[in-house]
Symmetry: C2
Subunit: 999 residues, 2 copies
């Protein structure tokens, strides 16, 4: 079927001419199809699929041609053959193989098969003297053993689709065949059969209580307490097999392949057999787990080369668990197919030079291994590319051009997930997330509540803050487009309220009514933004803007936490001059004011009637007394204790989070500890605080349900207190609020929806904004603060809900799967916030410094994983120690540094602005960041930006257009090669399979 | 030369019969020699050497035969050939090769050679877009490229020992040869020559200030600011080459091998040449560093396969830096030798299955790579074994049987090192060591001084403690056998002094005189122990005893540090009921005693004359006043501040120590930070303490040079105060002291001399004991405390003097080389201790909690690296997460756990005993540990003990005797295989080179 070299050459030429042609060339399709036809059917499929999916005929054909040319140059004959085999029934996936290798050992006078290694994906070896399983590791083979294995399969017996129901029968069949083919003589039949039917002893893990009981039972290393024998004749699984806990590491549909190797004294040449059974069959105690056997590899050989046989056994076992080879083994039609499988494997192996690596080192399994499809080039690259681009373009933010088009799409996208948003929330992780975020939220509510109360003469105080947080948060989490976002009061809103209150006060306008009208206008404006799909401009927010904003917010969080801590030292000043011996000289006395100087009648009265020495500090000041003494200004211990609580909570949380990566305790327990790290730290330090009994400042929540300011009710009336024009004029300040809210909300949403978080349920920018608008109006009517997405707490929310795959095969690294996207945690957090009033008796034990420690942790944690932060760290690393970030492989370090420097400068400017009155338009400054980003297009090449940032939409489009045109000059072509730094990392290895020297 | 298979078989049989024979078989030697003769000469050499070194003829011949049999089974034909090549002139080591790979690139309209990777030992690649060097990594090759390279060398031009003086001439010679052999046509001469003589552009690292200046210079990724061109014609090194800092990473005698690969449009088949120059020659700008070129590999090929050429280039480059292949390249006589080199390399490569490893991962260089000698089996295993055993037997502790034989040997051994003991001390690391140990010593001196003062009514106080420490320490460090040992007061001695003082007091015996006599007797007893080589019993101290003792001492250190810290909370009680608002109610007043109750005239007088309210606490109590008030009992802030200082110092030291392994800052700076971590932490927290200005307890050293107790002078007279029989009777308590001192001193010495520390200058147990004895007498005469080796501080001393190799080749891991063995640091520490009196003004700023933090660190640090501690941690690790300790591969986990459990029990018992009056015989309890260890022989097999502990001397001897006898039964044989867990880890891989299937 494979055409001659000349024909291949001609095809390549033809393909080349097709590529350079700028005309549509429908007429070329039939010959092209012919080219395709002698390759496997995959290509045809690819071709058809591409044709269907892509509307531009010129483009689609070019893609196919390019693809095919690539394939022709890259694929070896062995791989070619494999494709042919593997595509025969493409749809049926083959079962996973569990491979066990047993070696023949003499136990006393008995021969027996002893398990020496097993593979699910990686190798686990029975330690020689240790009677234990080694850690799963990458099987390092010797080339020699692979070649020997190849010889084995070439010369040995290969029985495919043998009908086997029991081991004795299978062994009989094999021996029969070997005798038929004249490979062994008749007289060996008995002996070989005897050896092959010896008992199998497996290395099984005992429960810990049993192995503890074993301790000290036997005093010599010859004991085999942990192993046991099985009967091979039974064809039902034994209880030992069934009890084996290792079973849960093996996929349910798995089948076994058994490798038996050993040396015997009666053979003078090796006895080799490779058997595939027609049906997977349980062959008694052959395998340590009750998994039916499909493959058998037997190697018996003359004495003296046990090590060599062992290595061959390891080689075939490693091959059997190779995704590709196991497919081949299942589908092979003859011996040659298996050989081709080995050859393809050999083509792809990774070779380490002996002088640069020590073979004794067991290589830990990598985080990720390339898929087998990639090796054969079978992954459908074309369609993948298209899918990828779609996702990047972000259809959620497309400008629909229809009224409420975006909102409609958002609802349509989110509605199907609605039920799962609830039942997926029930998981132990949710508890820790709820506790963590709840504590963050109430701390925030108390802080902002206090500040708002100060700013607005208690029109909005702590009580309103709690109520508003609970209301807005729970509504948003229930109905919002992105329920992982946590709403909260934010700095800019606080400043706005402050200015507004001052304005109303000085102009005698009723504050609450004015605020209501602003809220209503703003709500309307939000609706307009929603209806017109205005959120699509978020597309222009690249990594530069997004990371800049979130870093800034994180820095503010960190600096606030530290400021509050430093505040404790001011609030509880330490008497640094205190000399323990002179304790007698420190006191603080309340002296009655001089009656002569008393201005008020009452005071004069007090002077005589009060026992001034019994008054507390506050009372003394209240009644006009004066505090005299060295210790009046000072408060002992509280500042230092606060510091210990603050720093202790922070560092304990960090250490416990890291505990996940330690070696101690089982994985599940470690994960639990890591998940509950914040809760455990808080508990520890609350406990310590209680133990010490010091009067550290505690978390005090309101205990009564009534507005903070006695005069106001729960409902604000829209009319009556202000002149009519105020109702209209409030449109202007509302505009500012709308912009504030829009920017703050949407950029937080962008950060939450980052592709690194692997969210699956899509986002809902328009829906989010809609609900924020609704809540604006509602809160205004109830006289509650306004709420908008809080970046840092939302990130903390996401972080506490991250999921990792349970590692299935031993040694496989858990993968980050995504985030537990649901509405339960959010709703619970806010319901809890609402009922905090009743939790006051419990909450009052929590010292504030502990909560500031949690804040510090939140700020620091939200910085990690940000590329900007990684790049800042690069400044301090000598280049040889820098981590292997992909962008560093592609962008010169000084360009990366320059980019980072610009980002730092922008943030510094923003930080300074934030400290001025401009803080009110802080979110709007994001627009400034976006402008800077736009200007970066002039400083950096698109190639560099694609790696360290994202491309702007119009550039991306332009780039694609460029790609369509013919490349001019080499440099440009080079640049175009990687338009999107996804998985296009070029695979340099193994690229030429036609030997470049021998044609 | 190589004999037929049958002959080999016969040889093996013959060898077997020789091995089983128990008769001396001198007559067999000639045939054996014949067998050897067709192998390389190495074996002959081995044979001769063994004959010379070993006196038992039967044993020596057997060893040789065993060795040869092993070799016959293990070595491949390619390796065989290589041995032959490499042994021709065994004595001349070949230079290290630096390999540079340049690829042909089109730069605008110009062709040029651009450096794309380089190798010193590991690969460094020029990142494609990054314009930077990748981290050094293990070169992962594809099998394909290696085979292609093999073809290249088979078909291309190989010119060995070409006389080359310039690149043009060499290129001419190559082309000439190719034309001669008809491989290329005449008309290509010009073109090829033109291409090969294009300019070379190297990737050079610029100094940071230049690259910073470059930032922002160019705005497109096409700039090449960091690269530059060189003129290839010049034959002197250019300034750029000379300025290249990379040069210092390359050994001085290095030569270069240049690999040039590229695709050109005028060739239709590849042009390949491998050239070895007769003399290494500098070929202009060919190489980035001014290193003369010895090898050239050129591969030009038709267009379209650049990647494949690249891979072939990487393959030859990797081969060129392979220790073995580079030897072959230097010594190859013809093309076939090179091919054999590749074949041997292929035999030894380590193969990773494609499904289990991602080739994109750059593998970090391993800690250690096996030596090339091992690959050919050329390392002289036999002689190594003998050397190894010698060291283990510890000739330093052999029982000489001569009077002062051990002492004589000690002096003989140490004397030659004496000068180097001084000049090797001058190193920056010594400064940090001195500061660290100095602080440890004075803290210890103050603590013990205070306790001794209490115990002896100030006969020995802080002043004596300082003086004694300085005297004893400096004398010992100057003359002692192991100057790394730090002398100090220890607990048992303290208790002894206490009991002795009480005894003398109650029996009216003069304490100082009695003590002098005990000291003299003890000194004499020490001399007797020295003269009779009694220290040899230390040999019976195995890892079990040694680690048990040192862990216990570490625990005591840790618990003492923590106890002192907790003490601060008792000494400075915190008023936990303090309510900041009621500060007015807290005071402490000194009330005058009731004059009526005053018992003394003086007191009555005071009552009226003193201003009682102005008195300090102490004065008040002194004059009989009473302290009244809520704040009298409490001291604010100091306890918490002490805790912060204590914990801060400890954790900062730990973090800074770890900083060595971080990625930040250049290696040297990190090493400096790590070395000075303790100093920096102390400084930081001293600074913090000064900043806070609190009256934390400070380090106070005596400032005047006079005995603590006014009555006593500096010299104790031996006669006059006690009856004569006391002089004789003091022999009995002296015996106890001697045993105490002997055990304490020698076990500390064993711990210091641990083989893990890789000490090179040998130990001097007898000499140590001699000086301890001398110092006993001296201190007794001067009335100073007695001194003996302090385990924890000595370990800290060693730890702070550890040396690591400077990594030479990029990527090579630094190796632990040993300890800076010298006398300077010790002497300086004690001289400083002596002059501390004058340092008092500086030392008084150091808070005691900071020093307790240092103590805590010392205790914890001395635990790390102890196998016992590692084994304790194993309890908490699930077996799959346990580190890959070698003993875990060989001893069942439950046996390991049992062993650890016994050790823990022993320590617990010792800990309890230590808390009773038995503490005085604490060091003697070590004998108890040794008895327990002896009994363990009954519980554990010698195999297990060899892995987790050491064997006892007599067992070791027995084992060796056993080994000589014929093995009975399989199990025993297995056990004997690894009598000593050194490097005997069996090498299973690549063990069979005769294919077991094809003979």
């Amino acid at each position: 079927m494979v055409p001659s070299v000349e024909r291949q050459q001609r095809c390549l030429l033809c393909l080349d001419c097709m590529l350079t042609s700028t005309q549509p060339f429908g007429i070329h399709v039939p010959p092209l199809y012919m080219v395709v036809s002698w390759r496997t059917r995959t290509w045809t499929k690819t071709y058809n699929k591409t044709m269907r999916e892509n509307s531009n005929p010129l483009l689609r054909i070019k893609e196919v041609v390019l693809y095919i040319k690539q394939q022709m140059l890259e694929v070896s004959p062995a791989a070619e053959r494999l494709r042919y085999i593997l595509n025969e029934d493409d749809d049926m996936p083959t079962p996973t193989l569990f491979t066990e290798m047993d070696t023949l050992q003499r136990e006393g006078d008995e021969l027996e098969w002893k398990e020496s290694a097993r593979w699910v994906k990686f190798e686990e070896k029975v330690e020689e003297g240790g009677e234990r399983w080694s850690k799963p590791h990458v099987s390092t083979l010797s080339l020699h053993s692979l070649f020997e294995l190849r010889t084995c399969l070439q010369t040995g017996t290969v029985l495919l689709d043998l009908d086997g129901y029991s081991l004795p029968q299978i062994v009989d069949d094999i021996i029969e065949r070997q005798i038929e083919e004249g490979m062994i003589s008749h007289d060996l039949r008995e002996k070989i059969s005897f050896v092959l039917l010896r008992k199998h002893r497996h290395q099984t893990k005992k429960p810990i209580h049993r192995s503890l009981a074993d301790i000290g039972k036997s005093s010599s290393s010859t004991s085999h307490a942990q192993s046991r024998s099985m009967n091979d004749i039974a064809d039902t699984p034994s209880t030992d097999q069934l009890k084996n806990k290792f079973m849960k590491k093996i996929p349910r549909d798995a089948e076994a392949s058994n490798v038996l190797v050993g040396e015997v004294d009666f053979l003078n040449k090796p006895f080799v057999a490779f058997v595939r059974l027609a049906q997977a069959t349980t062959l008694g105690g052959l395998t340590e787990v009750p998994v039916p056997t499909r493959f058998l590899f037997i190697l018996l050989g003359p004495q003296g080369k046990a090590k060599s046989y062992n290595e061959i056994g390891r080689a075939i076992a490693t091959l059997m668990v190779d995704d590709l080879f196991s497919d081949v083994a299942y589908k092979a039609r003859d011996r040659e197919d298996l050989i081709a499988g080995i050859d393809e494997f050999l083509d792809e192996v990774i070779v380490l030079p002996p002088g640069e690596w020590d073979p004794k080192i067991r290589i830990e399994p990598p985080k990720k291994v390339p898929s087998a499809d990639k090796r054969l080039g079978m992954s459908n690259r074309l369609s993948n590319t298209y899918k990828g681009q779609k996702a990047v373009l972000g259809e959620e933010l497309a400008f629909t051009g229809r009224f409420c088009g975006g909102l409609y799409l958002d609802i349509k996208r989110k509605l199907p997930w609605f039920p799962s948003d609830f039942y997926e929330g029930f998981h132990i992780q949710s508890i820790s997330a709820v506790l963590f975020i709840y504590l963050g939220c109430i701390t925030n509510a108390i802080t902002f509540g206090g500040l708002l109360g100060d700013a607005t003469d208690n029109y909005q105080g702590v009580m309103e803050s709690f109520l508003g947080t609970a209301l807005a948060g729970s509504v948003f989490c229930f109905f919002g487009g992105q329920p992982l976002i946590i709403l909260s009061s934010t700095g800019p809103i606080l400043i706005f309220e402050k200015l507004l209150f001052e304005f109303s006060k000085s102009n005698s306008i009723d504050y609450m009514e004015l605020r209501l009208w602003i809220g209503m206008h703003s709500c309307l404006q939000c609706f307009i933004l929603v209806a017109t799909d205005a959120s699509y401009i978020i597309k222009y927010m690249t990594r530069f803007t997004e990371e800049g904003f979130s870093s800034l917010i994180s820095f503010i969080f960190i600096s606030d936490a530290i400021k509050k801590m430093v505040g404790a030292f001011k609030y509880y000043p330490i008497n640094t001059d205190f000399k323990p011996d002179y304790v007698t000289t420190y006191k603080c006395e309340c002296l009655a004011p001089d009656p002569k100087l008393a201005t008020l009648q009452l005071q004069t009265c007090f002077v005589y009637t009060l026992d001034w020495s019994q008054l507390s500090k506050k009372e003394c000041v209240k009644y006009g007394g004066s505090l005299v003494g060295k210790s009046c200004k000072y408060v002992p211990d509280l500042a230092l204790m606060s510091f210990i609580l603050f720093f202790g909570t922070y560092s304990m949380t960090v250490s416990l989070k890291k505990f996940k990566f330690s070696r101690y305790f089982p994985t599940k327990l470690r994960k639990l500890i890591s998940d509950f790290s914040i809760f455990m730290s808080i508990m520890t330090f609350v406990g310590l605080d209680m133990l010490m009994g010091l009067k550290t400042p505690k978390l005090i929540v309101p205990t009564e349900f009534k507005p903070t300011r006695p005069g106001r009710g729960w409902l604000v009336m829209p009319f009556g207190k202000n002149p009519w024009w105020v109702y209209l004029a409030s449109f202007v300040p509302a505009l500012l609020v709308t912009i504030l809210i829009f920017m703050d909300q949407q950029i937080s949403a962008v950060i939450v929806n980052r592709k690194e978080n692997k969210l699956k349920k899509g986002c809902g920018y328009h829906l989010d904004l809609f609900w924020v608008g609704v809540l604006m109006a509602t809160c205004s009517f109830l006289g509650l603060p306004w709420y908008v997405a809080a970046t840092v707490i939302s990130i903390a929310h996401i972080d506490s809900l991250k999921m990792e795959s349970e590692s299935s095969a031993p040694g496989e690294q858990p993968q980050f799967l995504g985030v537990r996207e649901q509405r339960v945690t959010g709703i619970l957090v806010f319901v809890l916030t609402g009922v905090s009033i009743f939790l006051a008796p419990v909450l009052k034990f929590i010292p504030m410094p502990v909560l500031y420690g949690v804040f510090l942790y939140m700020g620091v944690a939200s910085l990690s994983g940000i590329q900007f932060w990684d790049r800042i760290k690069l400044y301090m690393m000598p280049s040889k120690h820098q981590p292997d970030f992909t962008y560093l492989r592609h962008v010169p370090l000084r360009r990366v540094h320059l980019f980072t420097l610009i980002q730092i400068t922008c943030l510094a400017v923003l930080w300074v602005l934030k400290s001025t009155f401009l803080a009110i338009i802080f979110p709007v400054m994001i627009l400034g960041l976006m402008v800077v980003r736009k200007m970066l297009d002039m400083v950096f090449s698109q190639h560099d930006l694609a790696w360290v940032d994202d491309l702007l939409p119009e550039k991306e489009k332009k780039k694609k257009d460029d790609d369509k045109k013919k490349g001019k000059g080499k440099e440009k072509e080079k640049e175009k090669k990687k338009p999107k730094p996804d998985d296009n990392e070029e695979e340099v290895r193994n690229s030429s399979f036609f030997c470049p020297l021998q044609d």
